[in-house]
């Protein structure tokens, strides 16, 4: 698992790859904490390269969403594989977090 990020206009795009489970959820949380700290308005989490996320990983996404909401920043996730999207649907988190099909679509919404 690795988290990298870059600026795209006003938004930070963070990419996470591999598996996020109980063993590395803390590392993922620290990666996102750095992104949240640097952010100024909007964060997009691109999950295109994410192969698996456990409930411990979902909790980290949820924490990020809460933190950003408190900051008054926007937050969205994009490019979920079918199985990851299923995890968000089953847990009901698709009703909590904005989900977009592609990075372009998400950035248009976040930067617009």
């Amino acid at each position: 698992m690795q988290t990298e990020w870059e600026w795209k206009d006003e938004a930070i795009v963070a990419r996470v790859d591999g598996r996020v489970d109980g063993a590395n959820a803390r590392e993922f949380q620290q990666g996102l904490a750095a992104v949240i700290k640097a952010s100024a308005g909007a964060v997009l989490l691109d999950m295109e390269k994410l192969s698996y996320i456990s409930s411990a990983g979902l909790r980290v996404v949820l924490l990020a969403a809460k933190e950003l909401r408190t900051q008054g920043s926007k937050f969205a996730i994009c490019s979920l594989s079918a199985s990851i999207l299923e995890v968000f649907k089953i847990s009901g988190f698709d009703q909590i977090v904005q989900i977009y099909g592609s990075q372009d679509e998400a950035l248009a919404a976040l930067n617009g």
Partner: protein, 387 residues
């Protein structure tokens, strides 16, 4: 490495050694790397070690009055087993060197002392000791962590019912297998008014003692809500609102909660972000129950949980389970998945509630093989016999 200089106790009855050591090691002493203290024999050395707990290492001669160096080696661990000793022996005195090493000396130097060699030996000994201390600290941390996980594991086990109501109209059974790193699955079977049953399977995010505490309160709140409300959707809504108070850590729990009425065979369920139940029919075919689009509990206040009712046919078996079943991995990094779960019963329709979950665990174990279990696995089964 520690900030203070290492303290080395030099033990020798030769009075000349003290000024010689201080003179030849003066650079290291001035640089704050070592300090030296001195004793004239083994007895004095033990007194000093007892009086000064900051001594890291002992450098000792062998032949001394009152207590010799070999006897001293046996005494040092009684004061502190983490002190390392280096012996000064006569050149070629293999017999004493071997005895010293057998008694726990870390290394030896020979007379006449070569101070360059002595310094290399001291440095190596101190480096070894620093690593040893780090390893001890790591071990202590690991033990503390293991204790925490044991507490969590015991909390988890203590709340799971192991006996289940018996009735000619139905059979119910459940089993949970914890992962090595405690997750936070639980199940419950709650007797309700009018002979009805409340059935719950839940999975708490994260692990360890905080997750176990969250699980305990989830389970208690759910039991209370189950008894107080007839309606599974309302029960989940109530538990959700209660869990959200003071949940700073964003922990959450996915829950499937159902009320079963043996008289009518109705099975009403509400889902808080959990895997949907599977109904297995007597011929081995199965139906996944529709999701009711509920959010995991503890995430957002004021959620209304939808519920759905089905009517079980005689011989139907309902399977409530956690993602430990469907997300169990094999050595090829594949997930067990829903299809394999359904296939178990297509090959062999469930004979009874206990047999049904036993078959699930067997199939998951066979699939995972030697891959360690990363999540708790829970399975609750209800077989409706019908009137």
């Amino acid at each position: 490495m520690e900030d203070r200089p290492y303290k080395i106790l030099v033990v020798d009855d030769e009075p000349d050694l003290q000024p010689l050591v201080l003179q030849r090691m003066r650079r290291n002493i001035r640089a704050g790397r070592y300090t030296f203290v001195f004793a004239g024999n083994g007895v004095e050395a033990i007194e000093q070690l007892n009086a000064d707990r900051s001594i890291d290492m002992v450098l000792s001669d062998i032949n001394m009055p009152r207590m010799d160096g070999l006897t001293l080696l046996e005494q040092i661990p009684k004061v502190d087993p983490n002190i390392r000793s280096v012996i000064i022996s006569a050149y070629g005195d293999m017999r004493n060197i071997r005895t010293a090493m057998n008694r726990g000396a870390f290394d030896f130097v020979t007379k006449p002392l070569d101070f360059k060699d002595l310094q290399v030996t001291i440095d190596r000994t101190l480096r070894h000791m620093a690593e040893w201390r780090d390893a001890l600290t790591a071990r202590d941390k690991l033990i503390a962590l293991q204790n925490e996980l044991d507490i969590a594991s015991n909390m988890q086990k203590s709340i799971l019912p192991t006996t289940f109501p018996v009735s000619p109209a139905y059979g119910v059974s459940a089993h949970m297998e914890p992962a090595r790193n405690v997750g936070g699955d639980f199940y419950d079977v709650i007797a309700l008014q009018g002979g009805r049953l409340g059935l719950a399977v839940a999975d708490v995010s994260d692990k360890g003692v905080p997750a176990a505490l969250f699980m305990m309160s989830s389970r208690t709140l759910l039991k209370g809500a189950a008894i107080g409300r007839n309606n599974p959707g309302e029960a989940l809504g109530e538990v959700n609102d209660l869990l959200i108070e003071n949940n700073e850590t964003a922990m959450f729990v996915t829950v499937i909660y159902a009320v079963y009425d043996p008289e009518t065979g109705t099975f009403t369920y509400a889902n808080g972000g959990h895997n949907t139940p599977l109904v297995v029919h007597p011929d081995g075919s199965s139906t996944e129950l529709p999701l009711t689009r509920g959010v995991a509990l503890g995430v957002m206040p004021g959620i209304e949980y939808q519920q759905n009712t089905i009517t079980l046919e005689p011989g139907d078996t309902v399977l409530l389970y956690t993602d430990g079943v469907t997300e169990a991995m094999n050595s090829g990094n594949e997930e067990f998945g829903m299809e394999r779960l359904r296939q178990i019963f297509a090959d062999k329709p469930p004979q009874g509630p206990e047999e049904a979950h036993r078959d699930v665990f067997q199939a998951v174990h066979a699939f995972a093989g030697a891959v360690p279990q990363s999540d708790d696995i829970t399975c609750l089964t209800l077989r409706h016999a019908g009137a």
